[in-house]
């Protein structure tokens, strides 16, 4: 069970938003899709869900194009920022609607989540606050029987408590029924322990496609006197250096850990958020010292 992206391109007028996206989503994984505002994350997800067509390229589910493929679409779900349900529907009616459309719906989980978040299932969607509208959509997304569930900005408008509940419930339901989740979020530090693999979309292509565990091992922040840091890092690719007086902080993905570390120079790990920032910073770009 895999979703394959082959040179997926999308233009809006003259603007090229996606310029040949290639990646693969496997079964039973929690992926993070990262990218700056306007990078094309939503466009990419909408192409998978058939809300948009690709200008060129293909998205294949088990080798078959997902475009206008009813069987494939039954296995795909996209929870997006836009609320597309009829506004006067009650939450419980939306659960029934989803059940009828997708054939199945995890009623038990829905009942549990409604209680955990404190959502009134008899309320009309239109009357809910932004946060609770997101919660209603999230509950549906966690209860659909789909193999690939895309969550575009899943915690939009949620307070810290409800965000925590969501992350916990996502981990729990994923443990019970493994399926693939793709989370596009700007709150990287909140999902970094949940996702095991990240994709970074930048400039219309995938610029990073790595396991989080591998990144954690690779990412290093080197701090110390400028001359010593420069010498120790000579010949390695550095993402960015920040100099403050005689002190230098360098961000790198391949620190020469086998070389002895000069006294006065410290090497620390980099969290996903920092790493992402360094990778998607405009201007500068990686350079070899």
């Amino acid at each position: 069970m895999t979703m394959e992206f082959k040179q997926v391109t999308r233009n809006f007028g003259r603007k090229q938003v996606l310029r040949g996206v290639n990646m693969t989503w496997d079964a039973g994984q929690l992926y993070g899709l990262l990218g700056r505002n306007g990078a094309g994350k939503s466009t990419l997800m909408k192409i998978v869900n058939n809300r948009l067509f690709p200008t060129a390229g293909k998205v294949l589910l088990d080798g078959k194009s997902v475009t206008e493929n009813a069987a494939a679409q039954n296995r795909i779900f996209l929870m997006s920022a836009a609320t597309l349900y009829p506004g006067d529907s009650r939450i419980a009616q939306l659960f029934t609607l989803t059940q009828q459309m997708y054939g199945r719906f995890d009623d038990q989980l829905a009942a549990h989540l409604v209680q955990a978040f404190g959502l009134d299932p008899h309320q009309r969607l239109r009357k809910l606050s932004t946060g609770y509208r997101t919660i209603a959509k999230l509950i549906i997304a966690l209860c659909v029987p789909c193999d690939f569930v895309m969550l575009d900005e899943p915690v939009l408008g949620l307070d810290a408590n409800n965000r925590e509940i969501f992350y916990q419930e996502l981990a729990a339901t994923f443990a019970k029924r493994p399926r693939t989740f793709i989370i596009a979020s700007h709150l990287i530090e909140e999902i970094e322990n949940l996702v095991t693999h990240v994709f970074v979309l930048d400039g219309g292509t995938i610029t990073l496609d790595e396991d989080v565990a591998d990144l954690a091992v690779k990412g290093r922040v080197v701090t110390g006197p400028a001359a010593l840091v420069r010498e120790w890092l000579s010949g390695t690719c550095v993402l960015r250096t920040v100099q403050l007086g005689g002190m230098v902080t360098a961000y790198t993905l391949d620190a020469p850990l086998e070389k002895p570390l000069p006294t006065g120079v410290s090497v620390d790990g980099m969290d996903l958020q920092q790493l992402y920032l360094e990778l998607t910073r405009t201007g500068g770009g990686p350079h070899v010292d």
Binding site: E164, A172, A175, K176, L194, T196, V212, A216, V217, D268
Partner: protein, 122 residues
């Protein structure tokens, strides 16, 4: 339990370390059941696969065992084995580091021994 995302120690290893510390401190007594993968994953919002990988480190070390259909249990003698391992690591690593640090600061062997004795006396 607390996890540090910017640590160079991988998350699964951090999970394993925390469980080992828990067994050593008696928070997870021998023969007792430890929380399931799902429970840990849910409580700390961590990917269940990562939690499982961390638990498997303990299984490989012979500290916990799976009982089919019930869960994971602390093996009898686990605490002793952890203590022995820690002792071994202490002599193998910490002493070397301590002496090297003392040497860098021109602390003599006699001075260091006195300091250690004072430390024990407190």
């Amino acid at each position: 339990m607390k996890f540090d995302a910017s640590s160079v120690v991988p998350l699964y290893q951090q999970i394993a370390d925390q469980f080992i510390a828990g067994i050593l401190s008696g928070a997870f007594p021998e023969q007792a059941q430890i929380p399931s993968t799902t429970e840990v994953a849910k409580t700390y919002a961590i990917n269940p696969a990562t939690v499982l990988k961390g638990m498997n480190v303990l299984v490989d070390l012979g500290l916990i065992e799976k009982r089919r259909g019930i869960g994971m249990f602390v093996v009898p003698g686990a605490q002793e084995r952890i203590k022995a391992k820690r002792k071994h690591d202490f002599y193998a690593e910490r002493i070397g580091e301590l002496v090297a640090a003392a040497k860098a600061l021109d602390i003599s062997k006699a001075e260091l021994i006195v300091a250690v004795e004072e430390g024990y006396a407190q």
